[in-house]
């Protein structure tokens, strides 16, 4: 992008003036779009209602109104709360989201950091949000929050495993942990000798994709895995005592992570910024790549929200059973199968 504009900014300009706003944009814009399109509108249509209609055309400014409302609200600290931990928790959750977006490539050169073990970094940093949620649950001095926090910890740790094991299949097939490398191997790959559309791993790693999406659903604590916030049981779980801007931060964290995880799924299974028919080395991808990635990401985010509003909630023990007794063995079998086929091919 920078090359296209024929600019060569100094390192601090590049780091602070360009990367930080673009990073904010890359996290907040999809989060806002997801909230408006899916949480407000698509779901309303599924539930035979209109959703917000008053603020802006078709309620498109509703989100701004909501954000304004939350910012104005009092930031209440419970009297027995551990003040510092309580205040820090939303930032820990949000931090993990922002650090995740760092490794996602949106074009041959349109990326923040090109880590050799990009996907490894992403999987590791996504676990940090558990700490934030546990902090929120513990420091609120509220039993609902505590139950929610502990449920979240148990759930996120249990689903970390299938998430990573599902990715291992992709890594084996791509032969690299570099996110850019995974995109390129899909762009240049071929399915049993036919390379017409490259090899989007959704086709060859379908089991991996299914496991990955289920695990992502649990990682994001969306229904049917929303016990940590189960609003009919735990009021809102670890969010119970939060209000005002800190609740907003958690809210952004939730939907921004939905966007970021969809983007990771798009990179791993849908070829990321690549569209078939154009040479992946073509510079045009620095411009259309982010749009392609965003389109694929929205498609996957729709899946997440579709499930969220269709299924009832699992119970805690049923969810653990699903993770340990079904998803993990299945993903191990998937790894074994992928390995055998990789060696045979």
């Amino acid at each position: 992008m920078i090359d296209l504009l024929a600019l060569s900014p100094a390192w601090w300009q590049e780091t602070f003036l360009i990367k930080v706003p673009i990073g904010l944009l890359a996290v907040l814009l999809p989060a806002g779009t997801i909230v408006y399109l899916y949480l407000f509108k698509a779901i309303s249509f599924m539930q035979s209602r209109l959703g917000p209609m008053e603020a802006g055309p078709y309620g498109s400014l509703q989100l701004l109104a909501e954000v304004g409302k939350w910012i104005q609200k009092e930031d209440i600290f419970p009297s027995k709360a551990d003040k510092f931990v309580f205040a820090a928790a939303p930032f820990v959750v949000l931090m993990s989201t922002f650090l995740l977006v760092v490794v996602i490539p949106a074009g041959p050169d349109a990326l923040f950091v090109d880590l050799d073990a990009g996907i490894y970094f992403a999987m590791a940093i996504s676990s940090v949000s558990v700490i934030g949620i546990l902090m929120a649950g513990w420091s609120s001095a509220n039993k609902y929050s505590l139950l929610g926090g502990i449920r979240a910890a148990g759930q996120l740790i249990a689903y970390e495993l299938p998430l990573i094991l599902a990715v291992v299949g992709v890594v084996i097939q791509a032969g690299t942990m570099n996110m850019q490398g995974i995109v390129l191997s899909q762009a240049e790959g071929e399915i049993f000798g036919w390379g017409g559309i490259g090899n989007p791993f959704i086709l060859t790693q379908f089991i991996g994709f299914a496991i990955f999406m289920i695990a992502v659903q649990a990682e994001l604590t969306q229904a049917p895995f929303d016990m940590p916030v189960a609003e009919s049981e735990l009021v809102t779980g670890y969010l119970t005592e939060y209000s005002g801007i800190r609740f907003l931060l958690f809210f952004i964290g939730e939907f921004a992570s939905a966007g970021v995880f969809s983007a990771i799924a798009a990179v791993l299974f849908f070829g990321g910024w690549y569209v078939p028919g154009i040479d992946p080395a073509n510079q045009i991808f620095n411009v259309i790549g982010p749009l392609v990635l965003a389109a694929k990401m929205m498609l996957i985010a729709f899946l997440i929200f579709w499930f969220r509003f269709t299924f009832p909630r699992f119970r805690e023990d049923q969810l653990q059973r699903l993770a340990w007794k079904f998803l993990i063995p299945l993903s191990l079998a998937n790894i074994a199968l992928t390995g055998v086929l990789k060696v045979a091919a």
Binding site: M46, S48, S232, T310, R313
Partner: protein, 391 residues
């Protein structure tokens, strides 16, 4: 507050001591005590449940009722008989017409009046319509308590058609206040029967939709099958009634077995029971009953006799001395009014036997060795209305 007499002061101290005792129990017991309510999203109002937990497992749970007590039994003593219906249709606010019927029937029994056939027919139709309006919301709400947000919107959407039909006859969507001693306030409006058939079709579709969307869902079944099982002898011992009793396999329905004043004997219908007694069975029975109610109304609509809708009753209603107990099979279960008259304009004493109060009494028994999420799903499947618990 000013406390004039010694008895006032003693009563105040006693109430404070009772509160303190509950709170001390909450704070000092071993393990964790979770206080669900009185303000909690799952209690549809102000029910308080004190659950003693071991991890997520419930060791003991006790419902504390009375946060919404409105003193209807006492209030009826200073209302004339026709005025009482206004009060009692706020007991179970989702199926409000059904609350008026047993009281009016008890008063009619005391006065030895019988409503003309047409009034009895329309009463039965409205009674079943309010059952649909009530149970329809249960079908959506049960899903929402288990975590699926969508079905409740469908329930509200399709319930609207039934409410519209009730409104067209009575003028009130929530509180019709339509039943009178000796008959009904008005006759049916023109074209109502055809419109009601349309609403019933809508309702049958809704039942099919719920069967696919909720009942057939594997997560729903995992959350409800074998959860909160109430064997039939326990159900009888705790005085359960309505669909909760029938879901425990006991074939008892007041509409068929002890019918007073309504025309269920004119209809070909079936009482649904389920042998399991778990949350799933209670949902299943209610779903079938909604279908059956559509069937009953459909048959009654075709056979409404002509004639007056009001029997001959004096303008000023004085009920002769005596006692009467009439119970009907309300949406929530057996609802009975025990009316004692001393020959005045007002009842001397009215005892309301409401279904939810008795159904809730089984909560400490059934909420043992379950998980916290099961508290919610079992309570939802027992189906209570706060107004019906506290009156």
């Amino acid at each position: 507050m000013s406390m004039t007499s010694e008895s006032d002061q003693l009563a105040y101290i006693a109430s404070q001591a009772a509160d303190a005792r509950v709170n001390v129990e909450v704070e000092t017991d071993e393990g964790m005590t979770l206080n669900l309510g009185p303000q909690h999203p799952a209690t549809h109002g102000t029910l308080r449940i004190i659950a003693k937990l071991d991890g997520e497992k419930v060791v003991a749970a006790e419902p504390i009722m009375g946060y919404m007590h409105r003193g209807y039994e006492k209030l009826t003593e200073v209302r004339t008989y026709p005025q009482v219906t206004t009060l009692v249709n706020r007991i179970d606010w989702l199926g409000s017409f059904a609350n008026e019927v047993p009281f009016i029937l008890a008063a009619e029994q005391l006065m030895e009046v019988e409503a003309p056939p047409r009034a009895q027919w329309i009463r039965t139709i409205l009674f079943e319509l309010s059952r649909i309006a009530n149970v329809c919301l249960f079908l959506g709400d049960m899903a929402v308590q288990i975590g699926a947000t969508t079905p409740v919107f469908y329930a509200f959407r399709d319930r609207e058609f039934v409410l519209n039909q009730i409104e067209r006859v009575t003028g009130g969507r929530f509180h019709p206040n339509f039943d009178r001693i000796g008959g009904l306030k008005d006759d049916l409006p023109k074209g109502w029967i055809e419109e009601t058939r349309g609403a019933l079709n809508r309702m049958t579709d809704f039942c099919d939709e719920m069967e696919e969307l909720v009942l057939g869902n594997e997560i729903f079944q995992a959350r409800t099958r074998g959860i909160g099982t109430i064997p039939s002898d326990v159900a009888l011992a705790y005085g359960l009634s309505g669909a909760n009793l029938r879901a425990s396999g006991i074939d008892w329905d007041i509409r068929r077995d002890a019918n007073v004043g309504l025309v269920y004997d004119q209809v070909d219908w079936k009482v649904w029971t389920h042998p399991d007694g778990d949350s799933f069975a209670r949902f299943w029975v209610r779903l079938q009953e909604t279908r059956e109610a559509c069937n009953i109304i459909d048959q009654l609509l075709g056979t409404i006799p002509s004639g007056p809708i009001m029997a001959k009753v004096p303008r000023i209603i004085k009920v002769p001395p005596g006692e009467a107990y009439v119970a009907t099979e309300n949406p929530l279960g057996e609802m009975g009014f025990y009316v004692v008259s001393k020959g005045d304009l007002t009842p001397f004493r009215v005892k309301i036997r409401s279904a939810s109060f008795s159904n809730m009494s089984i909560a400490p028994w059934v909420l043992k060795d379950v998980f916290v999420p099961d508290i919610i799903s079992i309570l939802a499947s027992l189906y209570f209305i706060l107004g019906d618990i506290d009156r």
